[in-house]
């Protein structure tokens, strides 16, 4: 009986931490591969200007995490600033006629999901 209980507990412990594995192997790779497109939108949103100190810190933090391929380096990242600047980039393109309203819906949807993903990864 004791051996059965021990076996079950060991098996359960081995199966746990599924959340960590899902973040590392399912979600993070997609966030990392989407980042260049989001970053491009941020650059457009800055309209040639320099990012604020806050924005630069957030951008550099994500860049660093992607370069190191370690989502744990995203801890504490200000994803709301990333989200705001990326959305502004889409608006700039729509205002300049570079993107249609229909295209902007798709671009914004990607940004929305990117931000949701950042929240899942950082727990914020």
């Amino acid at each position: 009986m004791r051996n059965r209980v021990t076996s079950v507990v060991v098996l359960l412990l081995a199966l746990s931490c599924a959340g960590l594995r899902a973040r590392e192997h399912a979600l993070w790779p997609q966030v990392a591969s989407t980042w260049p497109a989001v970053h491009e939108s941020i650059v457009v949103g800055l309209e040639g200007g320099a990012p604020s100190t806050l924005a630069a810190a957030a951008i550099n933090q994500v860049e660093g995490a992607v370069r190191a391929d370690d989502y744990r380096l995203l801890r504490g990242v200000d994803w709301t600033t990333i989200d705001f600047l990326a959305r502004r980039g889409v608006q700039v393109r729509v205002d300049s006629g570079d993107a249609s309203e229909g295209l902007s819906v798709s671009l914004l949807e990607r940004i929305i999901k990117f931000s949701e993903a950042m929240q899942e990864l950082t727990g914020r």
Binding site: M1, S16, A22, L27, L103
Partner: protein, 98 residues
């Protein structure tokens, strides 16, 4: 002792059943989301930015799949913790009556 073993087996069976339902629901919701994004893309076929929209929607669906996977995994972890806690409580009962 038989009662304790039966209770532990029920605990595991219930957790597995809940996980199955949760996985099915997650897959269905993801499929619905992908269909919704495809429907939007269909409206952009003649748009000069169609290819860019395809890439954006592809990324959005892939991110949603990852988010769903994490939420499912977190729920599974919570159930496992619940099973272990339940199992420990049952084991304590076993020791108390031994």
């Amino acid at each position: 002792m038989t009662d304790v073993i039966h209770d532990l087996e029920k605990l595991l069976t219930d957790a597995i059943a809940e996980t199955g339902v949760s996985l099915q629901k997650g897959a269905a919701e993801l499929a619905a989301y992908a269909a919704e994004r495809s429907a939007h893309l269909a409206t952009l076929v003649d748009d000069p930015g169609f290819q860019e929209a395809v890439r954006a929607e592809r990324d959005a669906v892939a991110l949603e799949a990852g988010i769903t996977a994490v939420q499912q995994a977190d729920a599974a972890d919570a159930r496992i913790v619940g099973v272990i806690q339940g199992g420990l409580a049952l084991a304590a009962r076993l020791i108390a009556v031994a």
